[in-house]
Amino acid sequence: MRSPRFDATVLTLGFAFLYIPIIILIVYSFNASRLVTVWGGFSLNWYSAMWSNQGLMDAAWVTARVGVLSATLGTVLGTLAALALTRFARFPGRMAFSGMIYAPLVMPEVITGLSLLLLFVAMGVDRGFWTVTIAHTTFTMCYVAIVVQSRLLTFDRSLEEAALDLGCPPVKTFFKITLPLIFPAVIAGWMLAFTLSLDDLVIASFNTGPGATTLPIKIYSQVRLGVTPEINAICTILIGLVTLGVIAASLTTKRTEIRRVRDEHLAARGTTS
């Protein structure tokens, strides 16, 4: 028999395994000592040092631009792919297409990165900002497609039919009815795509070029020369951003839930009045 104490222990150990490394990283970003493993008192030095480290800041700026651009492109393409997969019931090659959309999810990143590199080389494209962006768009759009597709599967098609029936042409119907209703899924897809782009090292390092060093590449190359507390500081900021995103997303869900309960209450009152 499992005792509650056993359950609690397993849970604690599991969470400890997940979070202790992250906590250590955060704690040491406030370390006054240059030595990563020795605590030398609390300090914000490394945050200001990070701020004045031009190389690191450039990399962060590149990453942000690549992330926003590739996530946006990937969201547009992924949403279109999801629409094609759910809406056109039968078209030649549908099976192959829907299978292929999942392939980049399971494909080793090394292979994705290498094959894109070979493509860019064959096309004679200079590697740099745009090649990284295109590479990230390619692999993030699959994730977006899957997120949006799962929303579209539960979408009530009669809403679109009602709009058509009331005289609204198809493209306008998409923007007036479909898009507003699937927008939460599209935004979720965008955030997923942005996060994936943000932390990708392998594909980026294959397809980057001079002047387009992304943050993960920068961090990785610096770590090879030894972990500095500056790296800890920038990682802490990244963790903070991700945490804020998660909290914001769950708060939005929570608020929707509260509103739904209130609506049902109103509806119930409406029947009796």
């Binding site: 009669s158 809403l159 009602a162 058509l164 029936d165 009331l166 005289g167 042409p169 509806a267 409406g270």
Partner: protein, 385 residues
């Protein structure tokens, strides 16, 4: 307008007029989905200002037929004429029809008034006119104080009214209603049926309703088309459908009915009285006053509604009346009616309904009583199909 029976039912029967031009004509329509034939070479005329029902079980093709008129499906074969114009290839957003969806399909991100205004905005109607029309529609369905609410802040009945208002707002030539009252409870449904009839007469529109609820179809329609497996079994007024079904299928689908299979034993000429047939069914002999195409020996069915069958403990005085003798097997108490199920000696069943005009305690006939079921010769009919 809620509880009244509406204006006195007008005398309205353009389908009997040979010169009347149909408003909607389905001409040899076939619709296939892969190997499945949803609608099979169907021809149907619907007249202007008619309240027409397509009635049948799920999968009979009634919804497909309606969706072809709305433009969501194109017929595989045949053509649809609306006011004499072939509407093949006209997209749904250019057809002068509006539809009330079974799920209501209200736009969840728009308020009630935005939902109602949506169709009008597509026509680029001036803002002032849109507002006036929306107010008029809200008043019509008595939802003025709910204009700013979102659909999920409304009850089922209110949503149904919004859906109705939205589909009426553009004043379509034809209003299509797909199982419009399915989600409502019985009382609200009956109330709404009468409101629909009132609306249809006030607005003078053509209504086409799809339903599997025969009571609903009987209540609201000028005419009903009973459908089965993609074909129309019978098109007639509710009274004709009920009193003179043309087949076992229609008889069985509408209301409760006794169906006795048998053979024609004698036709009019042999009996001497014109328009009388005699049916023989395993020792039971039934006489029916009816002109009948069938000849002696044909396999037919005799059908009689339970409420036209009298139940009595005494043998009929008149020997020429049709009679069925047996014991009371079961009694269904339905409030206004009691349904008696009587079993004959050879194990056959027949049902008789009796209005409960007196109180329950006075009911003289009870379980295992030996009773006579009798019905006159003009109470039932012979079905050859």
């Amino acid at each position: 307008m809620a509880k009244s029976l509406g204006p006195v039912k007008r005398k309205f029967s353009p389908w009997t007029d040979p010169n009347a031009v149909p408003f909607i004509r389905f001409e040899n329509i076939t619709k296939r989905f892969g190997d499945f034939v949803a609608v099979d070479n169907l021809t149907l005329d619907i007249y202007e200002r008619e309240f027409f029902s397509l009635l049948g079980p799920s999968g009979c093709g009634k919804t497909t037929l309606m969706r072809m008129l709305a433009g969501f499906e194109e017929p595989t074969e045949g053509r649809i004429l609306l006011q004499g114009q072939d509407i093949r290839g006209v997209p749904p957003y250019r057809r002068p029809t509006n539809m009330m969806f079974q799920s209501y399909a209200l736009f969840p991100h728009m308020s009630v008034e935005k939902n109602i205004a949506f169709g009008l905005e597509q026509d680029n109607m001036p803002r002032g006119e849109i507002n006036a029309r929306v107010q008029e529609m809200l008043k019509l369905v008595k939802l003025e104080q709910f204009a700013k609410r979102k659909p999920n802040q409304l009850s089922g009945g209110q949503r149904q009214r919004v859906a109705l208002a939205r589909s009426l707002a553009k004043r379509p030539k034809v209003l299509l209603l797909d199982e419009p009252l399915g989600a409502l409870d019985k009382k609200l449904r009956e109330e709404t049926q009468f409101e629909l009839m009132d609306l249809q007469q006030t607005l003078g529109m053509t209504f086409l309703i799809v339903t599997h609820d025969q009571e609903e179809a009987m209540t609201v329609s000028d005419r009903i088309a009973v459908m089965d497996k993609g074909i129309i079994m019978q098109v007639a007024t509710p009274a004709e459908i009920y009193e003179a079904p043309n087949s076992r299928y229609v008889a069985d689908f509408i209301g409760d009915i006794n169906i006795i299979e048998g053979k024609i034993a004698d036709t009019a000429s042999a009996l001497g009285a014109p328009g009388t047939v005699k049916i023989e069914s395993d020792g039971l002999s039934i006489a029916v006053d009816q002109e009948c195409q069938a000849v002696k020996g044909d396999h037919v069915a005799f059908a009689v509604r339970p409420e036209k069958v009298r139940i009595s403990p005494d043998a009929p005085a008149d020997p020429s009346v049709n009679a069925f003798y047996g014991e009371v097997w079961d009694i269904g108490y339905l409030g206004d009616f009691s349904l008696f199920i009587v079993r004959s000696e050879d194990g056959r069943f027949m049902r008789a309904a009796q209005a409960n005009v007196s109180r329950l305690v006075d009911r003289p006939i009870t379980f295992e009583d030996r009773v006579w079921l009798t019905w006159p010769r003009d109470a039932g009919l012979v079905l050859t199909r």
